[in-house]
């Protein structure tokens, strides 16, 4: 098997709230299973290759996002091609918003996204902050911390990542959080998302390997500490 080629988009500009922990979780869980991988990064002005197996992008400060939003347009078609090939993609917060159709700022300015997700986001003056718990059929219960002022609306046909049990989710009043389209996931979960939600980490890894070996299934790992820390987060 060829090494799994991971792409981390804009790690220098989109790296807030411990999102780098998602890369740590993905690579450690591969290392523990002796799955070989390569770690690639691409930032403003860099070219993309056409054959990544797993793509990640985190959230950033507002200042960081302006330059990124502009640059992302030049990467749009390559990223769409990856999504069409069923490449697993994880985007957090600001990245989730920029992977939608557009983002409307507080000043009512429209920043175009790349439309990988059929969602639109509007900035608000209200910050949705706190511990969050959601649940889905594929992943079970997921826990994390959200911190966003953008409200994301799912347009027709878009599937949410999960149903909100505690916290806000996509909007102040929404019953749902995030989005999943093909193998691409968008979510407001910081904190980091993957270490405490190993079912999602393993889903992404398995889908990445299945690009080469369609029938491949991952061995399970001993996740007692992951479960224990998730359970405690639910109570906080």
């Amino acid at each position: 098997m060829k090494p799994i080629k991971i792409l981390h988009l804009y790690p220098d500009r989109m790296n807030i709230y411990g999102d780098f922990g998602n890369i740590i979780a993905l690579t450690k869980r591969m290392e523990w299973r002796n799955i070989s991988f390569e770690y690639h990064t691409s930032s403003v002005g860099d070219k993309l290759q056409s054959d990544y197996d797993l793509i990640f992008m985190g959230g950033g400060q507002d200042k960081g996002q302006v330059a990124v939003a502009k640059d992302l347009q030049s990467k749009s078609s390559v990223l769409h091609d990856h999504q069409m090939r069923d490449v697993p993609i994880l985007t957090i917060c600001g990245a989730y918003q920029l992977f939608g159709k557009y983002f409307i700022t507080v000043e009512d300015e429209e920043i175009p996204g790349i439309g990988l997700f059929n969602v639109v986001t509007k900035a608000t003056e209200y910050r949705m902050i706190g511990n969050i718990v959601i649940s889905s059929d594929i992943f079970g219960e997921m826990v994390g911390f959200e911190n966003h002022s953008g409200e994301t609306e799912l347009l027709s046909g878009a599937t949410p990542l999960g149903k909100v049990i505690k916290g806000y989710g996509n909007t102040k009043t929404s019953d749902y959080e995030g989005v999943i389209e093909k193998n691409a996931i968008g979510t407001y979960f910081h904190g980091s998302f993957l270490p405490k939600n190993p079912s999602v980490a393993d889903y992404l890894i398995e889908k990445a390997i299945q690009l080469q070996a369609p029938n491949y299934t991952l061995d399970s790992l001993d996740d007692w500490l992951e479960s224990e820390s998730s359970n405690i987060s639910k109570e906080r």
Binding site: G18, Q61, K63, L225
Partner: protein
């Protein structure tokens, strides 16, 4: 009239508080603030003929203020100072009231106030400080303070309206940029010579881009986070030349350091009785202030040789006849500095207790643990105990940094964890205790309940 009523009520409640041994040092201030909303500017107007020094920034506020205070205490300038626990508006009011008569008159020449970053826009106009020190700006409790750029913007708007002299860290691009956006007189401090140990897995560089068009800064030297020597194509964003410039690092150990600081007219040789690069920055900030208010060099130099660690920031306490060093951690940059200064130093065998709480004063969000460079110490061979409300989050972080989970002790209860730590300590060893803010307060209380007289009460 209102002023008198506010002052009297605050003094009464403070006296009552003493009887009931309550800890709320800011409570009198809160009450006085309610009775007379303009009290702070009234108090400031008639007091402190030599001016007010404000110290703010993400890390180092308390230690910098203490270093300034320790030196002034040896000079003939009298001063008052607030504590870390009272760095909001009400705490500042309470501090002034505690040192003034019923008319609100205070005999001190000067005041040193450390001020929470979020309160800078609120109190600076009232305080009209002589100087404002900004130590650094790092990501910290984003759930509470918001993003860094928005803090810097609020600082800049506040400073523009004041005549205050700014004392800024030249090596922090975001802090240094505050000197260019305002027309205030500005003094910079910085380090031009450092080639010691660095954090390898540093994910805390927040401000490595200019504000103009998101252009990247070029670093000639990066010490930690986004602190270092940098240039930019747009010269407005290059590092300003420090007025107080550490030009020669002579010695650094886990107890102290020795270095030379150059100004336009002279060179000082300093011995600092505190460890770590972060404390050298605190010392440079204090030096800039002290030198500007006219304290002579011999006195400054003498005070730095003797200055002791501030509350929870490196202080060594005795518990069950064992030595514990309290090293407060609040954010990834601070955590990394503790790792660099203590845990990366050989022999890496001292037992360590890490206590992570997620109460409001700690920040409810514990995601910052993932931005901290635990990978740098994955081969640490001493005993590690994790505790606090988020003990399991810390354990998980260590697991993914490459630590062997089976050798960790996970004990959420602070008292039990403290006992575990003392049991694993040899008599000659010092245990490192790394707590978040509320965990630090609880631990000090536990240590005090053992009859330790070193532990002063909250008001110092």
């Amino acid at each position: 009239m209102r002023k008198t009523l506010a002052i009297t009520s605050a003094k009464l409640i403070k006296a009552g508080g003493k009887v009931f041994r309550k800890q709320g040092t800011a409570l009198p201030g809160l009450l006085a603030e309610k009775i007379d909303p303009d009290l702070l500017s009234k108090l400031v107007k008639d007091n402190f003929p030599k001016g007010i020094i404000v110290v703010t920034g993400t890390n180092g506020k308390t230690t910098t203020s203490k270093m300034i205070g320790d030196c002034l205490a040896m000079s003939d300038i009298s001063f008052i100072r607030n504590t870390a626990g009272s760095n909001l508006r009400r705490g500042i009011i309470a501090t002034i009231l505690a040192h003034s008569n019923t008319k609100g008159y205070c005999t001190a020449d000067m005041a040193i106030f450390e001020v929470d970053e979020a309160y800078i826009p609120i109190v600076c106009n009232e305080l009209q400080p002589k100087m404002i020190v900004v130590t650094n700006l790092f990501r910290d409790q984003l759930d509470r303070y918001g993003e860094l750029d928005s803090i810097a913007k609020k600082f800049s708007e506040t400073f523009k309206k004041l005549q205050t002299t700014l004392v800024l860290n030249a090596d922090d691009p975001l802090v240094a940029s505050l000197g260019r956006s305002a027309s205030n007189p500005t003094l910079y401090f910085g380090i031009s010579d450092y080639s010691g140990e660095k954090i390898e897995n540093d994910h805390t560089a927040d401000s490595v881009f200019t504000n103009v068009n998101g252009e990247k800064l070029h670093y000639l030297q990066r010490y930690f986070g986004h602190i270092g020597i940098y240039t930019s194509k747009n010269s407005d964003y290059s590092r300003p030349k420090p007025d107080f410039d550490l030009t020669k690092m002579r010695k650094m150990s886990s107890q102290s350091s020795k270095f030379d600081v150059k100004t336009s007219t002279e060179t000082f040789s300093l011995d600092l009785s505190q460890p770590g690069l972060y404390n050298i920055y605190n010392c440079l900030a204090a030096l800039t202030v002290l030198s500007s208010v006219g304290v002579n060099y011999d006195l400054i130099s003498d005070s730095f040789t003797h200055t002791e660690a501030a509350f929870g920031r490196g202080e060594v306490l005795q518990y069950n006849k064992k030595s514990l060093q309290l090293l407060l951690i609040k954010n990834p940059t601070g955590f990394n500095q503790i790792i660099q200064t203590f845990l990366k130093q050989k022999p890496q065998t001292n037992p360590v207790l890490i206590c992570i709480n997620d109460n409001i004063a700690d920040g409810r969000d514990v995601s910052w643990l993932w931005d901290s460079a635990l990978e740098d110490i994955k081969s640490y061979s001493g005993k590690i105990i994790v505790s606090g409300t988020r003990a399991y989050d810390m354990a998980l972080r260590l697991k993914y940094a490459g630590f062997d989970v089976s050798s960790l002790s996970i004990e959420p209860d602070l008292k039990k964890a403290l006992i575990l730590l003392t049991h694993s300590l040899k008599v000659s060893e010092t245990g490192y205790v790394l707590p978040t803010y509320t965990a630090m307060l609880s631990l000090r209380e536990l240590i005090a309940s053992q009859g330790n007289h070193q532990v002063k009460d909250m008001s110092e």
